[in-house]
Every structure is written in structure tokens, then in C-alpha cells.
Amino acid sequence: MKMIRAIVRPEKEDDVVLALEGAGFPAMTKAHVFGRGKQKGLQVGPVHYDLLPKVLLLLVVNDEDVSRAMSVITDNSKTGFIGDGKIFVSEVEEAYTIRTGEGL
């Protein structure tokens, strides 16, 4: 199993979540976070924004579904401009459902 952490634009959150739902990934966790990338934030005239609001989506999927979930996220959050976000994938050794106490 793999954990996908996707940092996307807040305005794209609904698109991504809906598409993931449609693709069969209804279970996820989201958090509103602040971050910056290579460009160290955003300069608008005299104002510098160091940290920009983003949405962090966290989902755990089976190994064979990783590329599909990733393409759903990229297709729906891509604008082609700086600040589209990142997707991180990490290994999950074990996963348990608390309600039943059983491993997935």
C-alpha cells in the first residue's frame, strides 16, 4: 500500500476530490496548509507573500492504483502555472481499520 500526499491549489480542491470520488477513491483526509515552493512565495508589486494557502490531500491506496490516482490528481489540479503543487508517494507497511481492528 502507498500513501499519496497531494498539495494542490485550494480552488482546485473540489475538482480533484470529485474526480477521485468518481475514480473510486472516496476515502481521504484533507488539511488546509500553508507552503511555498522554489519561488519562495509570491511577489505582487511591493507585497511579498511568503507562504501561500494550499490544500493537503492524504490518501492511502493499493500499489496497483497509485498511478491511476496520481493521474486523476494531476489531470484535475494542473493549470500549467507556478504553484500547482506536488504529489508525494510513500510506502505504508501496515494499515488497520480501528472499527474492526483488522489489517487492510
Partner: protein, 140 residues
């Protein structure tokens, strides 16, 4: 060294932290966030008095449009809700992961939908910023 990520009910955080302290796990990071599971976040059908915290929050967020309710062409018949949850993030090396897992499940298990998940991830290194110690020393 393992990272344990537990997504649990917000109402159970205090109890869980106390139980973890009892087995010697005192360092925990708690995040407050929203989540949903296989049921698509719709917990209204499994509402009961013991889920008070969740239900109160849900009745608040229920008024706002959700992704599914906004999409007219969605195939989903019920609105999808985000349920407030807490994420406990802990790194363990000394206490066996199995013991932590059993504690988390024993405390948080109610048998109803929305109890949450526990994920165990491998971790390659840790650093204690104050002293610069790395590896297992950093988290003991």
C-alpha cells in the same frame, strides 16, 4: 524506527493521549483536519448520541455546499460530507509498534463507522534539533 499515523475521532484524543502516555509514548503531534472514508463521509445514517462531537460539527458544515452536491451530474445520490478528525502522528522505536497499535485500537474502537484508520510507515532517520542527535537516540 516507525512512523504511526492514526486518524481518530476528535472526541477520543484526550483519552488516547492518556493511554499512550501509560505505555510510555509521550511524544505525539496532533493535527486537526477533515476526512472521510469508504462511506463517502456520510455519517448521518449511523448517527447516535455518543457521536455527539462529530454530529455537531457535521450539522454546521452540512449547510455549506460539498463537492458532490455542487456537481449536478454526480452519480452519487447522497451528499458527501467531511467529518472532523484528528491525526496523531507518532514516531516510535523503543516501544513496540504492536503495543502502540493495540492501545490505539483498544481506546478508539467503538464498532461504528468512523472509528478511523492506523497507518504504519517506515522511517529512515530522525534528528533532534536541539542537540543534533540522529537515529534512535533522537526519539528516545
Amino acid at each position: 524506527m516507525k512512523e504511526v499515523m492514526a486518524i481518530i475521532r476528535q472526541a477520543k484524543v484526550k483519552e488516547t493521549l492518556a493511554a499512550l502516555a501509560d505505555i510510555g509514548v509521550t511524544s505525539v503531534t496532533v493535527h486537526s483536519l477533515n476526512g472521510r472514508g469508504r462511506q463517502g463521509g456520510n455519517i448521518m445514517e449511523s448517527v447516535d448520541p455518543e457521536m455527539k462531537t462529530d454530529v455537531e460539527c457535521v450539522s454546521k458544515i452540512y449547510k455549506f455546499p460539498t463537492p458532490s452536491s455542487m456537481a449536478g451530474d454526480s452519480k452519487l445520490t447522497k451528499p458527501v460530507l467531511w467529518v472532523p478528525k484528528s491525526l496523531l502522528n507518532l514516531v516510535v522505536s523503543e516501544v513496540p509498534v504492536k503495543k502502540v497499535l493495540e492501545t490505539l485500537i483498544a481506546v478508539n474502537r467503538t464498532g461504528r463507522c468512523g472509528d478511523g484508520k492506523v497507518f504504519i510507515l517506515p522511517l529512515t532517520d530522525a534528528v533532534r534539533i536541539r542537540t543534533g542527535e540522529t537515529g534512535d537516540e533522537a526519539i528516545i
